[in-house]
Symmetry: C2
DNA sequence: GGTCTCATGTAAGTGGTTACATGATTAG
DNA sequence: CTAATCATGTAACCACTTACATGAGACC
């Protein structure tokens, strides 16, 4: 229900239509949460069916009409409820990007280092994107800071493994 | 395909039957990866169908027979392939436990602190379990170390937010 | 005699993805 | 006049979960 929490939270602070949301997801929130375009539209539909959000159609010129969503009182109540649940809980999983580290002994050493280097570079690219975005964002400061910590933990982890491999 | 990678990796180092695997998952690997019992059995079935693993039945007393799985050459090849893919890639998501942090302003301050405290305690419980297990494990050293880093990053993140809330 | 452990799964349902579909508008 | 952008989705499929089913044996 993280996706619904996130979408409700977005709509709650600004009225948005689906296309806008899917653009936000593509441009920077993909670093934080994974919601594809069809999923976004589908969730908007079900949320509307549950009465958590309402839309009114807007038309600019002769373009296809937008469905601009706003949160309802019922939606706000639901948001408050699941936000509390979500804050208090902790799911240890999600970091399972890294079970593969269990098996590095299965690969000859000269092959491991380039693989880990590639991985590290990808983390660094993500981190760089994160830092660029963060400068502009304010509302989502905490989340981006949190994510940065995890990316840095990822890099620290990789460099430690590389060190251990190089110095036997 | 992380789950298949993990199961192949497990079976690769020791012959195992489904029940044993699901016990390992319940007892400590649940801190690293999320595979429920039915999923484990189902994946074992599909992996066997693909020729990556083989089983022979063993019977102890009059108990239900066990299907003891071992990896095949085809399975080893597949394992080597997806391990490399998985090591080189990096998926920034998975940390999406924490989008909720974007919305803490939506909750009155006196309510936030207990929620965050509860969250933190859960992380600490997980961390304590992790440390206990790690002492015994050797093969999975890297993974547990990696996971520990992320748990610590989680705690650091929470304490920083708490600090910011307390000192405005 | 009831409950826990051993050992296997199935069935029903949810949640999500990928690929596809549509059609107008604007920029080069 | 072609390509990208704006705006919505559907259809088919896959992955996974929760709850349920079975049955013997060991323990108290």
């Amino acid at each position: 229900m993280n996706k619904i929490l996130f979408l409700l939270g977005l709509i709650r602070s600004t009225k948005l239509h689906g296309y806008q949301i899917s653009e936000l997801l593509d441009s920077h929130f993909d670093l934080i949460i994974n919601i594809t375009k069809p999923t976004a539209y589908r969730l908007l539909g079900t949320m509307e069916a549950k009465g958590w959000i309402q839309f009114h159609e807007e038309q600019v010129g002769n373009r296809p009409p937008r469905k601009v969503y706003a949160i309802t009182p019922a939606g706000e109540a639901h948001f408050q409820k699941i936000l509390r649940q979500s804050l208090a809980r902790f799911d240890p999983i999600g970091y399972s990007t890294a079970i593969n580290l269990a098996f590095i002994d299965a690969i000859p050493q000269d092959e491991i280092l380039p693989l880990l280097a590639e991985r590290q570079q990808r983390v660094e690219v993500a981190l760089a994107r994160l830092n660029q975005i963060d400068a502009q964002q304010d509302h989502y400061r905490h989340v981006f800071a949190h994510q940065r910590r995890h990316f840095e933990a990822e890099i620290a982890s990789i460099t430690e493994i590389v060190k251990r491999i190089k110095t036997p």
